[in-house]
């Protein structure tokens, strides 16, 4: 099978679109907090994000990518029937997730790319089982349970860690000073470090949303080994960086100008907590939403008394988007897969 097969090209293009989307929105969200606190200029943020996002994706992104590619749906069993089925299924999954994400972006809904792609991959698996290619029990429900559980745990963990970090800063630094504004200046340097950290963390987890399905397709066509090729990871990294540079800077600007409340001490607490939680999950091969974790961490800083006003209604919105995303992405993906099979591709 050649790289220039239309099906492969389509899969690569869809993966790039997904990566672009993630860079334009999710990465921009994670980085926007650094601009909001005035720690970095937009140009600096884009350079830092590009370097560390790419680094995180290439060096530390394989575990989660592997989970998305073959942790949920047994692609090896399906490709025994016909290797093309996996490629078509993963194409359906990435199209469904991309469609849902685009729709959510259009309506400014807090939908996670991670939740979308997991739901979409599951949809492909369910349709495969419905068509008798695999048994329903062959879908790895344990892994899926762990992933869904981690979506609940990660924002809570983010809130908890951010709460502890900000409380420590508050007790040992802010309350002992005569000049809190000077402390904020000192935290700028720390916040630059956490900006790198959060970009790395984001790259290591979210690259999977774009290249997981791509790798699964290539793997079935025997164009990729058991190990994930470096060029696949690099492709995801580049796609996300392009998304940030072509669209994400606007998102960063919007966020940066709106969240002046998040001073360097607060920003540091929220970002450090978020990045740590995300890296931990990348290490555990679990795909989570960086944005939702960041929201949890910001609430944690608020609970510690660090923010003037936090809107808790966002929790409800996130839960709703979470409940809606998985079934919708799964259904769309299943229908696209069935459709592609129906037209005989």
């Amino acid at each position: 099978m050649s790289f220039f097969d239309p099906l492969v090209l389509l899969l690569v293009a869809a993966g790039l679109y997904m990566a672009w989307n993630i860079g334009a929105n999710d990465l921009a969200n994670a980085m926007g907090t650094s601009v909001g606190s005035g720690a970095l200029s937009i140009k600096q943020v884009i350079i830092i994000a590009a370097l560390f996002e790419f680094g995180g994706a290439v060096l530390f992104g394989k575990r989660v990518t592997s989970t998305i590619a073959k942790g949920i749906v047994p692609i090896d069993s399906i490709s025994l029937i016909d290797p093309h089925l996996v490629t078509i299924g993963m194409l359906a999954a990435i199209l469904a997730a991309g469609f849902w994400i685009t729709l959510a972006t259009f309506y400014n809904l807090p939908v996670s790319t991670t939740h979308s792609i997991v739901g979409a991959v599951l949809g492909f698996g369910l349709m495969a089982a419905y068509n008798g290619m695999i048994g329903y029990t062959e879908i790895n429900w344990t892994v899926l349970g762990k992933i869904v559980g981690s979506w609940l745990v990660s924002p809570l963990l983010g809130a908890f860690i951010a709460y502890i970090i900000f409380s420590l800063i508050r007790y040992f630094v802010l309350q002992k000073t005569d000049d809190p504004y000077n402390i904020e200046k000192k935290f700028v340097i720390l916040q630059i470090m956490t900006a790198c950290y959060i970009a790395f963390a984001h790259g290591s987890n979210d690259v999977a949303n774009a290249v997981g399905p791509l790798y699964a397709g290539l793997h079935s066509l025997e164009m990729a080994d058991v190990g994930i090729p470096l060029w696949v990871m690099a492709l995801g990294g580049i796609g996300m960086v392009i998304g940030l540079a072509t669209w994400g800077y606007r998102v960063i600007e919007t966020i940066g100008t709106r969240i002046t409340e998040l001073t360097p001490t607060r920003g540091f607490s929220a970002e450090f907590a978020t990045a740590s939680v995300v890296v931990l999950h990348s290490y555990s091969s679990l795909p989570i939403s960086t944005t939702h974790t960041l929201v949890g961490s910001v609430i944690g800083v608020g609970l510690a008394g660090g923010l003037a006003a936090v809107d808790l209604s966002v929790i409800g919105k996130i839960i709703v988007s979470w409940i809606v995303t998985v079934p919708v992405a799964a259904l769309t993906s299943a229908l696209i897969f069935a459709g592609l099979l129906g037209v005989g591709i």
Partner: protein, 230 residues
Amino acid sequence: MIKKEYIRSVLNVFASSPFKPLVIHANKGGDCVRKLNESLQAYCNGDMEKVEALNKEIDVIEHEADVIKQTIRSELSSSIMLPVHANDLLNFLKPQDSISDDSQEVAFWLTVRKFEAPDEISEGFCELMKKTLETVELYEDLVSTLSELLETSFSKRDVEDTLVLVTRVEEMEHQVDIIEKNLVKLIFQNEGVIGAPGVYHLSRLVRGIGDIADKAEHAADRLRTMVLRR
């Protein structure tokens, strides 16, 4: 829904802070009292044209204060988490808003009747107005400490600094009370010169000015509750 920006973002978690508008609102009250001070000077000098003009200016500032107050209230939905109790914040906003309301009333009251009284009474009014203005300006300083409190997320030292200012506002309001009582006595001592309508007009004027300082003291007291009870 906010205007189309085509982003899925963390922005939703950040609500707009009520504290900055609170400080601006307090300053609007201060502006009203500063204008009222000018108006009272003009009134004692018999410059009724200026009194009329300032009355209109105060109306405008009072309306601006009302708009800020309404914005703060409307943005404090039940899902907003603040570092203080939202009820305490609203309880302190109310008397703070009365500073501009009461100034508006006094400014109007000045326009309805010309000043006809001995010099010692006009001196008494100047003294009363000066002390009231000082009380309100000290109150403005007190409210502006909120930003530092938020910055250190209520450090003990900053809370103490704020509480000291609360006490000073209360002391100053007490001085206003004393001036107020003496002035009322003085008005009645001169009732023969001033006449019944004059006595009614001036004594109500004294009450009106004194009320402004009262409201500043009241708001300061509520602010203390808000800071301590959080």
